[in-house]
Symmetry: C3
């Protein structure tokens, strides 16, 4: 079955997020936790940053979707992440792994391997991270993307096939694959890379869309999340004077994005 990502598919899922707000649990890094919660709220979803051992697991059972982002994985949060992933699997809650800066950094790289073995519903990263996660490279320097998403396609396919995940690689053209079919979305703006969390918050939006996906609709949901996120960046960038006004305008745009905006702007293949 081949998926076509039409503006209608995307806006149907966006309407669901807005009318039946999914509860999205985020175990994410300290830098972007505020922006991530605000992105989810702007979108219409309900964020909850429950990330301590003893609570992360029970919460993941009740949540609609879970994000696990490895940006600043302190010891206590690492335990909470494993607890959340196991509980999510047990309860059938979809969850997203964002392997921030894996590769040469030893603590998160070991943790990413443990989490990967738990078969995330989706994986989102930049090209360097996806290549490193697949064991095909050593990652970029920190959070930088030093590779083009197309260069990460073999890595994305390998991860998708081996772990049953939908893999999304962020970049000028985003690439989303389930190992069988690969979608590409060419929206967004470079200003998304000038705001911290510009990539990380997309992981949370991905969890929100997975929460409202149809059965077997994970690929479409992950692609729709990317579409909404990157399309919203465009009018925000046009109206902005730099990264500060862009960040505020991007939240406004997520809250007001319409089906018509998607029809006019979505560029997909």
């Amino acid at each position: 079955m081949t998926i076509r990502l039409t503006p209608l598919t995307v806006s149907t899922l966006l309407d669901r997020v807005r009318t039946e707000p999914p509860l999205v649990q985020c175990l994410t890094n300290a830098v972007v936790t505020n922006f991530t919660a605000n992105v989810l709220l702007a979108l219409g979803a309900a964020p909850a940053m429950t990330d301590i051992p003893g609570e992360a697991g029970p919460f993941a059972r009740a949540a609609s979707g879970v994000l696990i982002n490895l940006g600043t994985p302190h010891e206590e949060q690492r335990r909470a992440m494993l607890e959340a992933a196991e509980a999510a699997n047990d309860a059938g809650t979809p969850w997203v792994l964002d392997p921030v800066a894996v590769g040469s950094l030893p603590v998160r790289t070991a943790l990413a391997a443990e989490l990967l073995a738990l078969r995330p519903t989706a994986i989102r990263g930049n090209a360097s991270e996806i290549i490193a996660l697949a064991g095909l490279g050593t990652g970029g320097r920190g959070v930088d993307a030093t590779d083009d998403p197309e260069a990460a396609l073999p890595a994305a396919l390998l991860l998708a096939e081996k772990h049953g995940s939908v893999v999304a690689v962020s970049g000028p053209t985003d690439l989303i694959t389930d190992g069988v079919q690969t979608l590409r979305i060419s929206n967004g703006d470079a200003l998304l890379t000038r705001v911290t969390g510009g990539g990380c918050a997309l992981g949370a939006v991905t969890a929100a869309f997975l929460a409202v996906a149809d059965d077997g609709g994970a690929l479409a949901a992950v692609a729709a999340a990317t579409a909404v996120y990157t399309v919203a960046a465009e009018p925000a960038a046009q109206a902005s004077s730099g990264p500060g006004s862009f960040a505020a305008g991007f939240l406004d745009a997520l809250a007001s994005l319409t089906g018509q905006d998607l029809e006019q702007r979505l560029v997909t293949a």
Copy 2:
């Protein structure tokens, strides 16, 4: 003695915050710590987020007011919270408990019970949290308010009487009670629920107003904090294009709020 919350009462306390800036110590969650500090700075108060064991207690003795917010209560912070509450009591520093998402989450619910036994000067939460804290329900799902403030009145009265606290329940109409008298404030805007920390930062503002309260003036101070906060949201919402521009405009409005704004907008009963 019956309190009337007039615009003049509110602006008198606001002037004190601005001219003799209280030092407000916040032990709060990672998601909203930045926004909370910015709200206090915009208001004219001096924030300090000192929340590690060994420093939280000494700081609470010197602070003008303390906020303890249970949003992401990591192990080290939990110890610091108990240390701060005990020192605040010992030194006579007013302190506010914000029982974020208590109810079904075991770690914070147990901690909330310990803190409640230390008799907070004020408690601020949404209806679900206040009901759960009083042991009259299991809380909402995460940080959502699934109950109307009026539904939380019995719980608020129970907490106020049992622990000697002023209790504030946030919602479309805020409800503030000391167990004897109940005040209601009908200001604010729904955009406050679309910015993370929209409720949490009010807890810090409440601590700032308690710090400048007259003897026996805790009820008036808590109500005045709510009044300033929710009144400031109204011009900000009117000038905004969505949650991103609202958050920036809300900080601007807190900094520029006048007695005249309060006279024109305050709706209280």
Copy 3:
């Protein structure tokens, strides 16, 4: 050799930051980590908030510059800070110490002494903090600056001579000294003190400029960082309606600052 801080010197270093983005590792407090990363991104540098033991050291070896800010020094982060400082020294990576609120708070004050013994490339703080760090006073109340930068000159000279650091004291007129020569910069706006992280983020910018400094150019680099930061605040303040719009406008101004802006606005002695 006497340094003159001309607009050209400053804009030459700013161009280097923009064209060869230094990777700036920040071990900083939870309150300002988001704003700090956004300031670095707006400037054109590449932030990475790697602050856990086992990763902080290896990262500091590869980073272009490191910031260690003591605002909320949790136990795990304290270990990571020492690890990062030692690795930075070993690898020749310049690093900046920001001794937030040292003086009466025991945990961070002890840590600051340990870090000071490792001879930071630069130290940035307000007057109260610099005086306390030098052992010449007990610090202000929390993060407040209760002393004028000029009052901190003896402390700054002492720290510079004893530890071989360039010392920057923030205030209405910023003072930067290497113990031999002292530069003064009179730019900026009071709104920088109404946004949390207004001082802390300058520490990260200082690390970015040290990363692109010429050999023996640490004093000029630290002064250039202060110049860019405080000059950018001026048009942002003029265009703002308060602290919320200022924060966004400041990021925009950092991204768009030109050599001409520096020529027109820089006030230095």
